[in-house]
Amino acid sequence: MIMLEKRPQPSRGWTFATPVVAVVLTMFFGGLLFAALGQDPLVTIRTIFLDPLFSEFAWFYRPQLLIKGAPLVLIAIGLSFGFRAGIWNIGAEGQYIVGAICGAAVGLAFYPIESFVIFPLMIIAGAIGGLLWAMIPGILRVRFGTNEILVSLMLVYVAEQLLASMALGALRNPDGMGFPGSRNLSQYDSAANLEIIAGSGMHWGVLTAFLAVILAYVALSRHIFGFNVRLSGQSPRAARFAGVNPGMLILSCMGISGALAGLAGLFEVAGPAGQISIDFNVGYGFTAIIVAFLGRLHPVGILLAGGLMALTYIGGEIAQSNLGLPIAAIQILQGMLLFFLLAVDVLTNYRVIWGRQVA
């Protein structure tokens, strides 16, 4: 008989070990999945997890790692505050879209003036756009007690429609001969999110992501705000006695995650994506949820998890073009990773006892 006994405190060892175990399990069962799809499991796993880093074309893929990882890390850092405090903003995808729309709109409004203030203004607009979009579920939760999970998610679908409307209407390229999509911001020097070091993949969004990691680390471990966030998550009652205003906490957590998601959207639209188009968003907002959990809601963990998840995106693309692996298989792999993480996590909080049943 296998029994579970609650640990007095979560095991520190397992806290660090579970993500690794989850990744190993995902590779194993992912291999089975690839075998079922008629692929060689070992070759596929090597293609996904190693080729982007070590193959002869790795010089091309390594910058991609930063480009794909940056939005994931930025969004996940924001989400981690709320998730720690038990505030579930799962609409980051919508905040990402609205941030991109607002930032791009500011940039396009100045076209074709060249000035060094345009890009900073776009960054501010992107952050504010995401922040305001996240404030909707935040304020509704504080004022009316509405479930923030459902509202933030509904707003993703609203944002997608808004994106379509912008790509076809207000922000459409007037010189685009009627095709949907805005002007290409990456070809408009003052608004382009250029690489800081050419060819490295290191654009301003990557820099911001690294900054966010450092600031989040300081805030969570050295600042009273981080303490309040952690306290509210572990014991909401104790937090109230300690003088934490729950409404303010909800708004701050939603605001931080919204602003960072908006920033991620802005950096994407001004750089790698280049323009507002109907299929601009690719689900970073949802994948970032996996990144946040895989990183144990810890800034450094999130940085590593973001890198790993970016790896699966790039490796997935390589496997798709070289081996004909359907891209949906990568989506399953990412979902599996979260499943295994949650499953293995039982070992962090519970001790497994083998043996006779004690009456």
Partner: protein
């Protein structure tokens, strides 16, 4: 815009059809939540049901077998959720999200060869006598059988929760799992069964989209229907009667905005398409939810 082109009888008739997938998914989730479990994976189970139903229906050329396959597919996926949350005591919110992400990927993979294929015909019933009543007949009694299956399930769940002993146990488990455990009920077993019922219903709802409503398979075709079903359960205060009202309200908004699109309203198509989601938010804000089941969302671990 030409409002006279909107036929009120057809509008009300299509309202029942539009509401059915949400109704099916929501009644399943209602049972799950009354047992004290919050499964946020409805969207994932729905889309998996949609693809399973479509694959089986095309393969066997029988929509009925398709719906059966969808129910089994949805229930199987929900077992993953049950295993993780009930036996490995994982966080229900996170696990539900994982289920949705996994289901979206799984369905995309399974449906690869089925894009652009038409589903086998699923004819409407014309109920004799009742269907011949003017106005009411076409609105209520001339639909495909699944519309009535949905209504029967809702009525069945209502009676089950209100009158049966098993329903009482399920409610006890949801209200206070410690007390139910002390009385000797198997909390985990009851919850597993509820979760599987929820998965089967979500699967049926998804298959209704791919086999009747659209009827085709496209990736991500549920487009948030599962999340709206979750919202309707809250709106209904966990009561089957109000669930019906919520689903029809939502169906009404959907059908109305589609009709306005067709009638050439002055508002952009994209803004009309937002209506169902905005209406759901508005309803969540205006309607104060009743009291949720006492143990909703909490893990149960029988400590010695």
């Amino acid at each position: 815009m030409d409002l006279s082109s909107i036929n009120p009888v057809l509008l009300l008739a299509s309202l029942m059809v539009a509401a059915t997938p949400i109704l099916l998914a929501a009644i399943g989730e209602l049972v799950v939540e009354r047992a004290g479990v919050l499964n946020l994976g409805v969207e994932g189970m729905m889309i998996t049901g949609a693809v399973c139903g479509f694959v089986v229906a095309v393969g066997t050329n029988s929509p009925w077998l398709g719906f059966l396959g969808a129910a089994i597919g949805g229930a199987l996926l929900s077992v993953i959720f049950g295993f993780l949350t009930q036996l490995l005591l994982s966080n229900q919110v996170a696990t539900g999200l994982a289920l949705t992400l996994f289901g979206l990927g799984l369905s995309a993979l399974m449906g690869q060869g089925y894009i652009g294929i038409k589903a086998p015909e699923f004819p409407d019933w014309h109920i004799p006598l009742l269907g011949d009543i003017p106005v009411i007949g076409p609105i209520v009694f001339q639909h495909d059988p699944m519309v009535y299956v949905g209504l029967v399930i809702v009525a069945g769940v209502w009676a089950f929760l209100k009158y049966s002993r098993a329903g009482l146990i399920l409610r006890a488990v949801g209200e206070n799992h410690e007390a139910a455990h002390a009385l000797g009920y198997h909390v985990v077993r009851v919850r597993m069964l509820a979760i599987m019922f929820g998965g089967a219903c979500a699967g049926l709802g998804g298959a209704y989209l791919s086999l009747v409503r659209v009827p085709q398979w496209t990736e991500g075709m549920t487009a948030g229907a599962g999340w709206i079903a979750l919202a309707i359960v809250v709106f209904a205060s966990w009561r089957p009667g109000r669930l019906l009202l919520g689903a029809y309200l939502f169906g009404g908004v959907t059908v109305l905005q589609l009709n306005l699109q067709a009638a050439g309203a002055a508002i952009g198509v994209e803004y009309l398409s937002m209506a169902p989601y905005l209406a759901t938010i508005a309803v969540l804000v205006i309607m104060r939810a009743g009291r949720a089941p006492g143990s909703l969302g909490q893990s149960f671990h029988a400590s010695r």
